[in-house]
């Protein structure tokens, strides 16, 4: 068991190195780097000369775009990354690790709440739809699930904003706090409620988008299980339909469900880039998008490596969960 985990972690390390090389190459090869975007206006107006720009690039380590130069700077990044230092963000003027640790919590909270809601909505609906296959309920739920998974997040966000923020004026349009209100520093409850009020729409968007997927997933797996021989055996024993569905069938459906859902947990820290941007919520996804647009290489590297670690971790958790929920699986 421990051996298996160590082996997987060793493998993960190699995967991460590979991923880091790819991301580094790609971000270094972006046509306009951080200095270009920052100095474009000054260069146009003549406030800066090309020499100044080159000097700045030298300073930021962006001057040498040859293969050798990129490799050299990559290895120096790798060396410090291995010692836990992800560098200094150009854009935010703070260490990357600090930016990450500051902003992931808000994103995680949004993602976690919608994750819980998705499960709470998706699984019961999926079970009910599979038990009543081809019924009106099944068709209705399936259509809504399909719509949920098919809608782009920015479209659904815009739709909800238009209805609830602009037309009905129930929810705020953007941001995390109401700019026109000034709270007493110690009024924690009011501040909390104000923030929560701002997060209702983004959480709704994320939930609607993913609940459909979980519902579909539950339904498909449940149907497969319900048609299997051991369910017939369970019925032949004289068990009630409720026991058959919720004990015998659902316990088997849980195998793919638990592994998939637990694999999603690390990903909750990754932030929802588009939704956060549409609602202008300062989560990690929003910060990452801004950094990417500006060519903030240390932050791009740091954030993407963070995502890579989360993905690898998710897969590992998912595989380990197989062993927990399925007695047939023995990892060695």
């Amino acid at each position: 068991m421990l051996k298996y985990i160590l082996k997987r972690l060793g493998l993960a390390f190699i995967i991460l190195i590979g991923a880091s090389i790819l991301i580094y190459m790609l971000s270094m090869l972006m046509p306009a780097d951080f200095i270009d975007t920052q100095t474009a206006a000054a260069l146009q107006s003549g406030a800066m000369t090309m020499d100044d720009v080159m000097r700045l690039k030298e300073l930021y380590g962006l001057a040498d775009k040859s293969f050798g130069g990129i490799m050299k700077s990559y290895f120096s990044w790798l060396k410090s990354a291995l010692s836990g230092d992800l560098g200094f963000s150009f854009l935010y003027q703070k260490p990357v690790t600090k930016v990450l640790s500051e902003y992931i919590w808000l994103s995680f909270m949004i993602a976690f709440i919608s994750y819980i809601l998705e499960i709470a909505i998706g699984i019961p609906m999926g079970i009910k739809a599979s038990v009543n296959q081809y019924s009106a309920y099944d068709y209705t739920v399936s259509v809504f699930a399909m719509m949920g998974t098919a809608l782009p997040s920015f479209f659904l966000s815009a739709l909800l904003l238009n209805v609830f923020a602009i037309k009905l004026r129930i929810f705020p349009l953007q941001g995390l706090t109401t700019a026109t209100k000034i709270f007493d520093k110690n009024a924690y409850i009011q501040i909390f409620l104000d923030k929560a009020w701002h997060l209702v729409l983004p959480i709704t968007v994320l939930t609607l988008l993913n609940a459909g997927y979980i519902m579909k997933f539950t339904r498909t797996n449940m149907l497969e299980v319900l048609n299997s021989d051991y369910i017939r055996t369970a019925r032949a024993k004289g068990l009630s339909e409720k026991t058959v569905t919720y004990k015998h069938a659902f316990r088997n459906t849980m195998i793919p469900l638990v592994t998939t859902l637990s694999g999603m947990i690390p990903g909750l820290f990754g932030g929802a880039m588009i939704t956060e941007t549409v609602f202008a919520i300062p989560g990690i996804g929003y910060m990452a998008l801004r950094a990417t647009l500006q060519g903030d290489i240390p932050f791009i590297m740091g954030y993407n490596m963070f995502l890579a670690v989360l993905t690898v971790l998710g897969m590992l958790i998912s595989d380990l969960m197989y062993m927990v929920v399925d007695p047939r699986v023995k990892l060695s």
């Binding site: 021989d229 051991y230 055996t233 019925r235 032949a236 024993k237 004289g238 068990l239």
Partner: protein, 399 residues
């Protein structure tokens, strides 16, 4: 994909004719099906059905089950499949009845009808009755018994052994848990300790070594033969009056087969119950059964005692079956096989279903479906070949 399927007509493949459904026919079928299924499902969903509605009288108190003109149909997208089409036979108390026939001839559906386990909503019992004499002396008409009442019969009075021991046990529960469940469900006042004790005793009685160890194992940790023993043990837990064994040996290798059959015979004697043995292995029938029912395309074509069926088969299909079993003294090393295939179950013609494969077909065979003809008190066959019955009480054999 959807569009392509939409234009591609649904095909019914028959033996001698393949036909395609037009869109209109398809729509008509699905409309019709919905109407029929709705009717039967509503019938089944009724609550508080008075007892008089589903209690009847047995024709013969020596029978545990009497199938009477049973029709079980499947309403599929391409038409109605008459899986069981007028089946009549009895299972006497303490006897083993063997059901033989090719795959898809309706053996399993007949037994599932008795358990009310036909795959709903497409599968429905549309006509006929199955009279079951319960341990408390009451006689139930199974197709009319409400669901909640049926739960008390299933597993307790009638239990079933399935053909695939590999997939018939729930992979995520321990053997013990799956067995205890039956006792806790059906026995009043059973505690987990009592259940465990009885499960282990039952495992031991079906010849499982170290039953207390097996009790804590998962199904995947056992071999096929062991799993089938577990299935049998599970079926026996509540001392059933009738065991339905649906091809209990098909998935096992030959040495294990013999052991399992031996066990079944032993078990039958112990509980003094009846067994409905479904198989397509004539060797198993010869060894186990007292009475034999031969089915073909949803109908019984011949029934009788083992001796009658094996030594004096009347129907050409039964004769073909007997000839197609390996006997060991073949002169030319080829095994006989009945030519052709089972006909398409949809839109069956009203003549003998075996006609297109029959070596001995006559002109009269193209007429209406032959009636059951009685040859002895127990021997019946549905074929024109043997002409009128030599047995006087012909009217008994109405089908």
């Amino acid at each position: 994909m959807g569009l392509k399927n939409f234009f591609e007509r649904k095909k019914i493949e028959g033996v001698d004719n393949t036909m395609y459904l037009t869109l209109r026919e398809e729509r008509r079928i699905s409309k019709e099906n919905n109407r029929i299924i709705k009717y039967y499902e509503r019938q089944k969903a009724r609550k508080n059905v008075p007892e008089e509605e589903y209690l009847t009288q047995m024709r013969d108190p020596n029978n545990v089950v009497e199938f009477d003109n049973l029709h079980t149909y499947f309403f599929t997208d391409v038409g109605t499949v008459k899986s069981v089409n007028g089946v009549t036979f009895d299972v006497p108390i303490g006897k083993t009845v063997g059901m033989v026939g090719e795959s898809g001839c309706g053996k399993s559906v007949t037994s599932l009808s008795l358990m009310q386990l036909v795959q709903a909503p497409t599968g429905q019992i549309v006509e006929g009755s199955i009279r079951y004499q319960a341990g408390d002396g009451k006689c139930y008409d199974i197709p009319k018994v409400p669901k909640d009442r049926m739960l008390k019969l299933r597993g307790k009075e009638i239990s079933m052994i399935f053909q695939e021991p590999m997939t018939s046990l729930n992979p995520v529960f321990r053997i013990g848990e799956q067995m205890d469940e039956v006792i806790l469900l059906h026995e009043e006042g059973a505690t987990p300790e009592i259940a465990k004790e009885r499960s282990i005793a039952m495992l031991k009685s079906v010849g499982i070594p170290m039953p207390d160890k097996i009790y804590t194992k998962y199904p995947h940790e056992l071999s096929g033969g062991m799993r089938q023993r577990v299935m049998i043990a599970m079926a026996l837990l509540c001392n059933p009056r009738l065991i339905i064994a649906d091809e209990p040996t098909t998935a096992l290798d030959v040495t294990i087969q013999a052991q399992i059959l031996e066990l079944l015979r032993e078990v039958k004697e112990r509980i003094n119950g009846s067994i409905m043995l479904i198989t397509h292995d004539l060797g198993v029938i010869a060894e186990m059964a007292d009475l034999v029912v031969v089915m073909y395309a949803g109908r019984i074509i011949e029934k009788g005692t083992v001796r009658e069926i094996f030594h004096d088969p009347k129907h050409p299909y039964t004769i073909g079956l007997m000839r197609s079993k390996p006997s060991g003294k073949l002169k030319d090393n080829r095994l006989y096989s009945i030519k052709g295939q089972v006909p398409n179950p949809i839109n069956m013609p009203d003549h003998c279903y075996f006609l297109n494969r029959c070596d001995m077909a006559m002109d009269i065979c193209h007429g209406e479906y032959p009636k059951m003809i009685q040859y002895s008190p127990t021997h019946f066959a549905a074929c024109y070949l043997c002409g009128e019955s030599s047995f006087p009480k012909n009217d008994l054999a109405k089908e």
